[in-house]
């Protein structure tokens, strides 16, 4: 992506975020007591100031890219196959979401093993056997450390419980 296009997209994003925060998010999701003596001390003041500054920075980003654009450079992609890269990212998002959702039922250790294997195969590991061995060993070693040395209550899940 070119520098100018990045700058404009960031600027638009910042202004949109600022407008959303000031007009929707802060009025609905920030509560303030009615007896605040001065607006400066209100819980609403700081988020409003930060949102306004975000909008100003967004405007600055757009302005600098319009007033004095940097020379366009030929867009150089860092990957050969962009659709495949986006596909991999989408699958990774599914893996991450599934990790959080499945963990309470499957337990942290088993979830971590599945996550390890899925990620290793997603990045097309050249060492599948090592990946499988590590997928079993690393979560177990971490379980031993956190559960038995650090005293953390690692979720065990509903199926197989570890000592």
């Amino acid at each position: 992506m070119e520098d100018r296009s990045i700058q404009i997209q960031l600027g638009i994003g910042a202004i949109a975020a600022s407008v959303f925060l000031i007009s929707v998010a802060i009025p609905f999701w920030v509560s303030s007591p009615s007896n605040v003596p001065n607006i400066i001390l209100s819980p609403l003041f700081w988020p409003n100031v930060l949102s306004a500054l975000t909008g100003l920075i967004g405007a600055g980003l757009i302005l600098t890219s319009v007033v004095r654009p940097r020379p366009e450079q030929a867009a150089k992609s860092d990957v050969d196959d962009r659709p495949a890269a986006f596909r991999r990212l989408a699958i990774m998002a599914v893996i991450m979401t599934a990790t959080v959702l499945v963990m309470p039922r499957l337990g942290l250790v088993w979830t971590a093993m599945v996550t390890f294997v899925a990620t290793a195969f997603l990045v097309k590991t050249k060492h599948p056997r090592s990946a499988l061995v590590c997928a079993v060993l690393i979560p177990l070693v971490l379980y031993v450390f956190f559960a038995h040395i650090a005293g953390v209550a690692i979720p065990q899940g509903d199926f197989v419980r570890l000592p």
Binding site: D3, I6, L10, A14, L21, W29, V30, S31, S32, P33, V36, N38, I40, L41, P47, L50, S51, L53, T54, I57, G60, L61, T64, R68, P69, R70, D78, V79, A85, L89, M96, T97, T99, V100, M103, P104, L108, T111, A112, T115, F116, V117, T119, A120, L122, V123, K124, K126, H127, S130, A131, C134, I138, P139, L142, F145, F146, I149, A150, V152
Partner: protein
């Protein structure tokens, strides 16, 4: 408490096998983490943090400091052997280190990198010991308005120098400050962006945000382009650095160390600019200046001294003022807080034993670094050969365990993944992550000091200009903004001029 009493109190705290073992293990982890391309010293410190929860505060913090020191040196190994800096700070080392490796002098380059790193590290640690206490005694007279202006200045400089432009750095800092407003209000205790979720009432977990911002984007980058970070390692060769060569480069090492100390003590500048400045100064002053860039050993010495000279000095603003000097010290500040310690001037009164314990540990870390570094140079091949397709899934699992362990809360794991997505988008859009994290940490302090100032003065803004200290920081902030904007305009003008 006299100096000798404080020193003995510190010795009492760290004078045990456990503390030194933690320091040594930290240096080993740091060197390995820094040496693996795609990992970084920041990531290594972030991933080590959850393992310190079960340790005593001093042992845990020494472990992290060891990782920090080791990580900065470790980055030079791949920079020299495979032309891939393990940390951004090692970028300057590539300039002469890799040509030396191509000439079959990799062993000599790595040896000099180690000698220069240890010397600079020692000088930086001594600077910390001499200046932190002095600065802290000065900072004892700070009230909320002074702290507000100090934090504002720190954030301005961090936003300005961390990325390509002040505006992008500023945007990053704003997002960090906004994220820090989540949770119960500091004064009235009302809800801010909690959406009725009790998990969000205490604000977002610092470790989840940190690991999400600095480790997950690297994993997503690997998913985006699995063939990145590949490189061919050069052999070490049979040459070793001689004492004569060290002596010849000594001036550049000392100069680089002082540049590192100076730049490191200013919040936000970090190791990379220091390494490049030290390198360019060495080239300007050296009789062999025409050899720089072609494999000059003094170039390796200068850049390594520049980046390691920062390592102790970044702790000066952290310990004396409670303001982190860079991202790694921001993580270490988080570790202090997790262990119930608040870095800042009061720590020199309330926890003087911890301060002196850390000083002793830091001096010893330079010695550990020398021995661990010598072994790591020979063992790099094995580290470089760790398959990325196994390493990154392992890092992912480590992140999940580490973040869960903080509060035994699966919600934090979700926050980490969400922040990872934010960090990846920021990386793609060239928005620096450092101002985000530092603003997220300093945000509550900034707001708290602002509101306390307003309460003190009956909501009069003049309290923020009440004395010479506040004026000093306002002036510094104005100068910083002016200098960064001017530099940005100049750079844009230069790139706008079409080349013939």
């Amino acid at each position: 408490m006299s100096f000798i009493d404080s020193l003995f109190a510190g010795l009492q705290l760290v004078g045990n096998v456990e503390a030194f073992l933690a320091l040594g293990i930290g240096v080993v982890i740091g060197v390995i983490g820094g040496a693996i391309p795609g990992m970084s010293a920041t990531m290594a410190v972030a991933l080590t943090l959850p393992f310190t929860f079960s340790m005593s505060p001093i042992t845990g913090i020494l472990l992290l400091l060891g990782v920090y020191k080791g990580g900065i040196f470790g980055g030079s190994i791949p920079a020299i052997l495979i032309k891939t800096p393990g940390t951004p700070a090692s970028s300057a080392t590539v300039l002469d280190g890799y040509p030396m490796a191509e000439n079959g002098q990799a062993g000599k380059a790595l040896g000099m990198a180690l000698w220069a790193s240890c010397t600079a590290d020692l000088i930086s640690n001594l600077a910390l010991i001499f200046f932190a206490g002095f600065l802290a005694s000065f900072a004892l007279s700070f009230g909320p308005p002074e702290f507000f202006t100090l934090i504002l200045f720190s954030l301005t400089i961090i936003a300005g120098v961390s990325g390509d432009s002040l505006l992008r750095g500023g945007l990053s800092a704003m997002l960090g400050l906004l994220l820090a407003t989540i949770g119960l209000d500091l004064v009235y205790g009302t809800n801010r962006f909690t959406f009725g979720n009790p998990n969000m009432m205490g604000g977002l977990n610092f470790i989840a945000v940190l690991i999400g911002l600095f480790a997950i984007p690297e994993i997503l980058s690997m998913v985006w382009n699995p063939s990145s970070h590949d490189g061919v390692a050069r052999s070490l060769g049979k040459n070793k650095v001689t004492f004569k060569e060290y002596q010849r480069s000594f001036k550049s090492i000392v100069r680089g160390s002082f540049i590192g100390v100076f730049l490191g003590s200013i919040p936000g500048i970090g190791a990379a600019p220091s390494a490049f400045l030290s390198y360019s100064e060495a080239r300007r002053k050296s009789p062999n200046r025409e050899n720089f860039g072609k494999g000059e050993i003094e170039g390796v010495a200068a850049s390594e001294a520049g980046n390691n000279g920062v390592a102790g000095a970044t702790l000066i603003p952290l310990l004396a003022l409670g303001v982190p000097g860079d991202v790694i010290t921001a993580i270490i500040m988080g570790a202090f807080m997790i262990h119930g310690l608040q870095p800042g001037p009061m720590m020199f009164i309330l926890n003087v034993d911890v301060i002196y314990g850390l000083f002793i540990g830091l001096i010893v870390s330079s010695v550990f670094l020398f021995f661990v570094g010598s072994v790591a140079i020979r063992g790099f091949k094995y580290v470089a050969d760790i398959p990325r397709g196994v390493l990154f899934p392992a890092v992912l699992v480590l992140c999940v365990y580490g973040v869960f362990a903080v509060n035994n809360n699966i919600f934090d794991v979700g926050v980490m993944f969400a922040m990872g997505a934010v960090g990846f988008v920021m990386m793609r859009y060239k928005v620096p992550a450092a101002p985000f994290l530092i603003a997220f940490i300093l945000g509550p302090l900034l707001e708290d000091n602002f509101r306390q100032s307003m309460l003190m003065s009956g909501s009069s803004g003049w309290v923020l200009f009440r004395g010479p200290i506040t004026w000093f920081f306002w002036t510094l902030t104005a100068i910083t903004v002016f200098a960064i904007v001017r530099a940005g305009i100049r750079a844009t003008r230069q790139t706008s001029v079409p080349t013939p």
